[in-house]
Symmetry: C3
Subunit: 351 residues, 3 copies
């Protein structure tokens, strides 16, 4: 792929350019490993010191760092270009989008002859149906949607316009996802929720009669599962971002723009607010309600509803094994330690 | 789908009907969001107060609530029907089964022409082999079994009668599942267990020579993995219910009617008793034995065998981040706190 | 499968045979469940007592146990054969490999006609491309590689010689895996890393422009995910062994011969050293560095870098539910307990 000039980037994405517009950019990269054809960015002030030493052709910076970014090359006589913009991280995000559109193959409109498509399915304009995809009766694929190889769109399921499914995604019957979504490989949307009634020591299945309804601009990571509702639907609102290997139980509702990191899980019938973040491997039990703007740290088990925005945590602090063993063993006597402390306080105070 | 009358439901499922048999039911739903065509149920006495306010056409209740259920509409002049039955939750489970059979397409007997089936495979009567399924040499598919699109039934594997595999399930070579099972999308049964011998800093593979043997009436959630045994087989007994994203290591044995919630995991060679429940994201290390009727709370790490029935727990209680930080930091000194307390006790007692 | 004689095994794998070379071996099995045609092994001295009672035809032992192994049958007049070797566990590993090669079907060189292969893909000598596999433009499959049914090898991806992909594996565009690898079912290599810039309450996608680079002799368990890098690549070095259901974030680097157990996870941009072991369900946050020879216990959350080899742990010790509740509740007051203890110490000392 041939390099681009900084002027082309500025023309596409804006920003104030300090330095030579014809500077050639061959890659986007981190400050630390940048070379003379790299466009880098400084977002976290923690990495500010790297400005002085980076070999990057150009650095995207906030106004406060404009001087440092342009003067860094002065001593060495380098070009020291900079793009100044109020939010370098957002600029960087858009740069990656522009770059990806440039270097990746353009989407094609095609229906691969090996796909198995029921005649009653509806395909929008300009869709791309990959090899060996299966599209069942009554399914609807929106304009410009891309269905990867080996995807299964079950009966009466719906994929919104512009949504992209990677290879090997299942969208269960009656489930739907909105516009501009991205679903990565191995995702299962619409498997049965886990519901059983006890019956003389065995389990009687509760058929799951709801579906999954996913809004617009939702991204779902590889091998994540979202179960269909038992009676009503499981709902993922607009703009939600789910990482890989996540488990969403039946009848969960996740509010707009909430983001969940890998391996986290939400049990059935819990409602998560909007603008929340859930750390990796965090787990939330069923039938809870979390308010908007709640942030759960990685690995934390949430066992009660949370009505107040804020950060919540609960992981055992790791240590070298010998220390951990001593402290963990003592932890099992913690309640009795408190009782002994109380007794001592009483005695001392009465002395 | 047209509504049904209460009399049809009673005819199919039994129960004592209080109220008009011709009452039309269009959906099954929760008490709280019920409307005048909804059939709801009251199982947990905690929700008893909803009886007074629900708009449901009919409520399934235990005898103790029959009066409250039928009189709820009296003031408003409503019909206030009720189905009285000793176990409303079990009745509800069976109702969902009956309802699903009514509203879902009937299973068909077909072998999709795109499936790749080895001539030496054996297909029972009335099987449904979905598009693009792969059935290898020597595999056996029982009567009435349903193999979803993109499933892979490897050589000499066996699927019992009436068992249903959703799309994209792998049943590994020599593995077998019994009758009336349900396997959801993305499940991998029979991948190699994780076994290696150390060899001069590297790892030498221990080939996994066992298989996976799964009993009757087992349900397995989406993207769950069950590894084949190293020498003997991994065994899942009758009636076990596994949720999504579960990991079962090699040579594990799970006793009858045990249920495991999502994201839980069992390491190799551990034996779990019958009638146990394992909470979500709980993890059990290898080479342990858990007795029958052991219940593990969500998120708990089980590191020793358990010989006594009961409930076992071990998660760090979450808190707002500031409190958690203070307590977690102190936890690392817990052993020394105990020593200080002892010293103080000694000193105080000797004073 | 017909039995083999001990002499055949010794001819193939070496070791000092004590006992009759013509002894017939029909299976490899554990000491405890061995019968008169079983070849067993003793590696862990903990199981030494089983030597006296096992019915095994032959036991693989270290020199220190040679006498016990051969004399065990003396009283009963049994044959009591033994294979004496310095590292019985390694011998056992190689025996399973030899046994598997003997009892499993030989790999075939074939390109199944149902596979969808782009004409610009490069296939090596003797490859096996399974039914319904998809191989996209520019992909390269090395000599003797085996691509299972329903695998997707995306554009410009590369599979090294002798590497085996089970059914339903995705190798994303531009990603590559080296020689002699084993990848189990449902694995997704090269899904997008989880990267977003906040933008007025919503999330702006950071396109992931890197790939995944995997070395030689790497094994990857079922349904594990390895994300592509954001700018640079995600790197898995030679000899790494990953169990099932693992999540590897973007730009992670895992050093040679490190092994990770099931359900563990590493967040983005963390570097793990060589020869580490990561326990099941352990989780490591992003942007950390772990030294070589670091061992993380199961279920432990690693929140800071580790520069010193050793074993690190941090799980809440489980207990019966009543005890856990008492201790967990007290844990939330731990910091204030320390303050009270301090106050008491001060008072006592000043008395």
């Amino acid at each position: 792929m041939s390099p681009v000039s900084l002027s082309e980037i500025i023309a596409a994405l804006g920003g104030d350019l300090h330095g030579a517009p014809e500077t050639a950019i061959a890659r986007i990269g981190p400050l630390a490993s940048a070379d003379a054809t790299t466009l880098a960015f400084l977002s976290n002030p923690r990495y500010q010191s790297q400005l002085a030493t980076t070999a990057a052709a150009c650095v995207i910076v906030a106004p406060a760092f404009a001087e440092a970014a342009t003067q860094r090359g002065a001593a060495a006589g380098g070009s020291a270009a900079a793009i100044v913009t109020p939010d370098p991280y957002l600029y960087f995000a858009r740069l990656t989008q522009w770059w990806a559109a440039r270097v990746r193959p353009q989407p094609v409109a095609r229906i691969h002859p090996s796909a198995v498509i029921d005649p009653s399915a509806t395909l929008g304009e300009g869709v791309d149906i990959g090899p060996l995809a299966v599209i069942e009766a009554g399914a609807r694929i929106g304009d410009g949607a891309r269905i990867g190889p080996h995807c299964v769109i079950e009966r009466n399921a719906a994929v919104g316009p512009g949504t992209r499914l990677a290879a090997r995604v299942t969208l269960g019957y009656d489930c739907r996802i909105g516009a501009r979504g991205i679903v990565h490989g191995g995702v299962v949307i619409g498997a049965d929720g886990f519901g059983f009634a006890p019956n003389k020591g065995a389990w009687e299945k509760i058929e799951q009669l709801g579906a999954v309804v996913i809004g617009d601009d939702v991204e779902i990571g590889a091998n994540t599962c979202i179960d269909r509702g038992a009676l009503d639907d499981t709902v993922i609102e607009d703009g939600v971002k789910l990482d890989n290997q996540i488990q969403i139980g039946h009848n969960v509702r996740i509010g707009k723009h909430t983001a969940m990191a890998g391996c986290s899980a939400i049990a059935g019938s819990t409602t998560i607010g909007a603008h929340c973040t859930i750390g990796g491997a965090a787990m939330i039990i069923g039938h809870l309600t979390l308010a908007d703007h709640v942030h759960i740290s990685m690995g934390t088990a949430i066992t009660r509803s949370i009505s107040k925005p804020g950060q919540y945590s609960g992981v055992f602090p790791f240590d070298d094994n010998a220390n951990w063993e001593k402290n963990a063993a003592t932890l099992r006597q913690l309640h009795s330690l408190r009782e002994r402390l109380r007794a001592l306080e009483k005695k001392t105070n009465s002395d």
